[in-house]
């Protein structure tokens, strides 16, 4: 009986000591989380200062800087670790919300691209009219006309490819949103 009591006490002490170690590790992780949070806040401040015009085929400066800073500094999003004061399930929910925002942002970018496609179509139509006019007025040789029509066709092909890529992208984003919703409900 005495031996049994001794064993129980020893195991209890071991559990207690391992618990203390875990808490100590948790604290260091929290500190890391705080540092990362501060870094993120600085990044947000920097992004707030940036503004620029949107161009076709070019993302906003803000997104570019964000990507560049990630590539250069190798600072991730603390995936799988503590996010500020959040832990476990709450952290998972926060990450899911963050991912959802990314999906929404990307969807908005694709809609912007659709506007670019519409503008591009107008430009192609204008170019086509220009060539027709030149042909009618007789200033255009056959070779030159062929060359110009080739350029128009190429632009049209690129435009259609982009249109297809946008449609595919939108469909995939919708699918990913559904997946995310499932994860959000499960977690």
């Amino acid at each position: 009986m005495k031996v049994f009591r001794h064993i129980v006490i020893m195991v209890f002490v071991m559990v207690l000591s391992s618990g203390t170690t875990l808490i100590a590790q948790g604290k260091s992780k929290e500190t890391k989380g705080k540092e990362k949070k501060e870094h993120k806040e600085k990044k947000v401040k920097k992004e707030g200062e940036v503004d620029g015009d949107y161009k076709i085929g070019d993302r906003s400066k803000l997104e570019k800087e964000d990507k560049a800073s990630k590539d250069n500094k190798g600072q991730g999003n603390a995936y799988g670790k503590h996010k500020g004061e959040l832990k476990g399930r709450a952290f998972g929910q926060a990450r899911a919300a963050e991912a959802r925002k990314k999906l929404d942002d990307e969807f908005a970018v694709l809609e912007e691209r659709e506007r670019d496609v519409r503008k591009g179509k107008e430009r192609i139509e204008e170019a086509r009219k220009r060539v027709d006019k030149e042909k009618e007025s007789g200033v255009l040789t056959e070779d030159k006309e062929k060359e110009k029509r080739g350029v128009i066709e190429k632009a049209e092909k690129e435009l259609n490819d982009l249109d297809e890529a946008i449609k595919r992208g939108k469909e995939r984003i919708e699918q990913e949103k559904e997946k995310l919703l499932k994860i959000y409900k499960e977690s």
Binding site: I56, G57, G80, D161, G169, R172, I183
Partner: protein, 67 residues
């Protein structure tokens, strides 16, 4: 079994149960996070594809303006 041993045993069982629950939750969170990361990488793939295509379209349109 005296009172002290009983109390210690109860504490021990509680500690083990608490640890197991945390581990389960951590595993679930880890799985969810890896799924989320996968989704984000998919989104990055989409944006890269569209960006490349948009750049090609822009250069084609510039060429178009020069004719």
């Amino acid at each position: 079994m005296n009172l002290l041993t009983r109390v210690l045993l109860v504490f021990l069982v509680l500690a083990i149960v608490a640890c197991r629950d945390t581990k389960k939750e951590e595993e679930e969170t880890k799985a969810a996070l890896s799924k989320i990361e996968n989704i984000e990488s998919q989104v990055e793939g989409i944006s890269e594809e569209v960006d490349t295509q948009a750049n090609e379209m822009e250069s084609a349109l510039k060429e178009l303006d020069s004719i």
